[in-house]
């Protein structure tokens, strides 16, 4: 395989580090957080630039509308909290205060998906892609690893308009070897591996799991193509239309309703493509408490689980 899994590194850390770097270069960059700066890593920016960091307290709705006001005065605004509170609690503020007037606010949410772990269902955000994706003007990005996160945050700061970026709590294996290697291309899926039997499209923290599944499939002489789909909106329509394999598998730490799998299904339907799509993700249930590793296993989202699910489908065909 072209891409080897590296050591585990935090996308959140990449976010904090990149904010500090950008803070030096962009004097009009400001950061907001709602009492979770230690967890979202915006505390790193707060330490370096205390005058441009604003903690709004546990008040996410106010944070999103305030972010809009700051953007109106020409600031590049990053607003962070957990995915649940950013997109759930403050959905309407994001829609009406930020997206409708198309303001320059970057909503960077950590603790996405089931892998939040022990905190359980109230904190496991598995609907954020769906509810951000359906807002006009909003772009949705789910970076692949530590290195790509750096490139994504850099892209966000240097491009106008609202963006939603989701990333997990846990550290995940790196897929790329450097920031250069991971250079983000907005709106483009990335082919990590070629294979003629099936195509796996994974996003975010599911990419390393997909790589593990692909290796297991290889042992059974099944050659899978692997795509890392960091931009979920706008989805890379051109790439999907040109898939040569007929069996597509989407993998996401998100409800299978409304997320990456749905975005791919929409393209398949719009173009009348004769493809079979298997959506792997959270199957419209609320999560439970447990360690991230145990939960991935429980929901069949680890490499082994993904491999088994694909094999099952192949046997049906």
């Amino acid at each position: 395989m072209k891409y080897k899994l590296g050591e585990k590194k935090g996308m959140r850390t990449a976010y904090g580090e990149t904010l500090v770097k950008l803070g030096k270069e962009l004097p009009n960059l400001v950061v907001l957080d709602a009492d979770l700066s230690g967890s979202t890593k915006t505390a790193m920016f707060a330490k370096a630039f205390p005058d441009r960091f604003f903690n709004v307290g546990i008040a996410e709705q106010n944070m999103m509308s305030m972010a809009a006001g700051l953007a109106k005065t020409g600031k590049i605004v990053f607003a962070s909290t957990f995915a649940m509170f950013a997109t759930g609690r403050a959905w309407e503020q994001i829609r009406n205060s930020i997206a409708y007037p198309n303001l320059n606010v970057k909503i960077v949410a950590t603790h996405s998906g089931i892998t939040v772990g022990e905190d359980g269902a109230t904190h496991q955000m598995t609907e954020d892609i769906a509810i951000m994706r359906c807002i006009p003007n909003m772009r949705v990005i789910s970076p692949t690893d530590y290195y790509e996160t750096k490139s994504v945050i850099e892209w966000c700061a240097r491009n106008e308009g609202p963006v939603y970026v989701r990333m997990p709590r846990r550290d995940t294996e790196t897929v790329f070897s450097s920031e250069e290697d991971a250079k983000f291309q907005f709106g483009k899926g990335r082919i990590l591996e070629e294979g003629s039997d099936l195509t796996i499209v994974a996003t975010g923290e599911m990419v390393p799991e997909a790589i593990k599944a692909l290796e297991l499939l290889k042992e059974d002489e099944i050659e899978g193509q692997l795509i890392s789909m960091a931009t979920i909106k706008p989805i890379d329509e051109e790439m999907i239309v040109n898939f040569t394999n007929d069996f597509i598998i989407s993998i996401e730490d998100h409800n299978i309703i409304g997320g990456l799998g749905s975005a791919i299904a929409e393209v398949i339907a719009d173009h009348g493509l004769n493809k079979r799509l298997l959506r792997i993700g959270i199957r419209d249930v609320f999560g439970i408490s447990g360690s991230a590793t145990d939960l991935l296993k429980y929901y069949g989202l680890d490499g082994e689980g993904i491999y088994r699910r694909i094999k099952e489908e192949l046997e049906k065909q």
């Binding site: 307290g57 106010n62 509308s65 006001g69 007037p101």
Partner: protein, 285 residues
């Protein structure tokens, strides 16, 4: 009150001719508000008419702004958080030349510039508001941004009293005082009515003054239809550079200026019919 007398010490003198001029302008604005809602056959006359005098005073006598250059750096900024009162804002902006007055008669129609609630796509409109509570937070963000830029301008925001039932209002109130935004002056259009009835019956708000005080604001209470009080109070509020945001509770009458709309909950979100429109316009002529 005799000519030149001030309500509060240290505030500039307002000429009685200015007050007469403002009354004339406000009447004209009210005429246009009722006409545009009547032609649109939808909209919110009650809260537009209660807020008219405050908006007229701000744009004609208080704010530093330029209709020919709506994005001028360092301008004073007004956010209409109770976005449903936008006919009053639109009528003022049109009168001042932010856009063609003919636009007023196309309010709420497909393809029109003037949307049912304020949108920043309209020249002179600073924030897309209407979902209650949000405009207040946006104004807090703008005031913070202006402070960061070292500007000496003032940010004004107008809230509805019913709007103060939104939790977000109090999140924003906390943030404004925490970040010492003494460049922010708010108004509560205290007309005491909301869609379902009297504010005190639907969800008690009193004592609003004490509530904002408790959140760290300097609070004033005025007659929101008295131009002298509006202007003098704003001048006093502006002069207090004490690190505290200012809130002016403006006691108003919903539907002010049209006898059968005054204090009548029926005209919160309902346009006058043809007969009512004719009657209202006659009163405002």
């Amino acid at each position: 009150m005799s000519k030149g007398e001030n309500l509060m010490s240290g505030t500039p003198y307002i000429k009685n001719t200015d007050l007469e001029e403002l009354k004339t302008i406000a009447k004209k604005i009210r005429y246009n508000v009722v006409k545009m809602i009547g032609l649109a056959k939808s909209g919110h006359p009650g809260g537009s008419l209660s807020a008219t005098d405050i908006i007229v005073a701000l744009y004609y006598k208080i704010m530093n702004h330029d209709p020919k250059n709506p994005e001028k750096k360092g301008r004073d900024i007004f956010v209409l958080s109770k976005g449903h009162a936008c006919p009053a804002l639109y009528a003022v902006l049109a009168e001042l030349g932010y856009f063609d007055k003919e636009e007023l008669w196309k309010l709420r129609k497909v393809g029109a510039l003037l949307q049912g609630h304020p949108s920043i796509s309209i020249p002179g409109v600073e924030a897309s508001t209407g979902s209650l509570g949000q405009g207040f937070s946006v104004a807090v963000g703008i005031a913070l941004g202006c402070k960061l830029d070292g500007l000496n301008n003032t940010v004004y925001v107008l809230l509805g009293d019913g709007e103060c039932q939104e939790g977000q209002v109090w999140e924003a109130a906390m943030a404004a005082s925490h970040y010492k935004l003494d460049n922010l002056i708010g108004f509560v259009d205290r007309n005491r009515l909301q869609i379902d009835g009297c504010t005190e019956d639907v969800m008690r708000l009193d004592d609003l003054k004490e509530k904002f005080k408790a959140f760290g604001w300097d609070v004033f209470e005025i007659d929101g239809h008295n131009f002298k009080e509006i202007i003098n109070t704003v001048n006093t509020a502006k002069s207090l550079k004490n690190g505290r945001p200012k809130m002016i509770i403006a006691n108003t009458i919903k539907g002010k200026g049209v006898s059968f709309m005054e204090d009548n909950i029926g005209f919160h979100g309902k346009a006058p019919n043809e007969e009512q429109l004719e009657k209202a316009l006659k009163e405002l002529s």
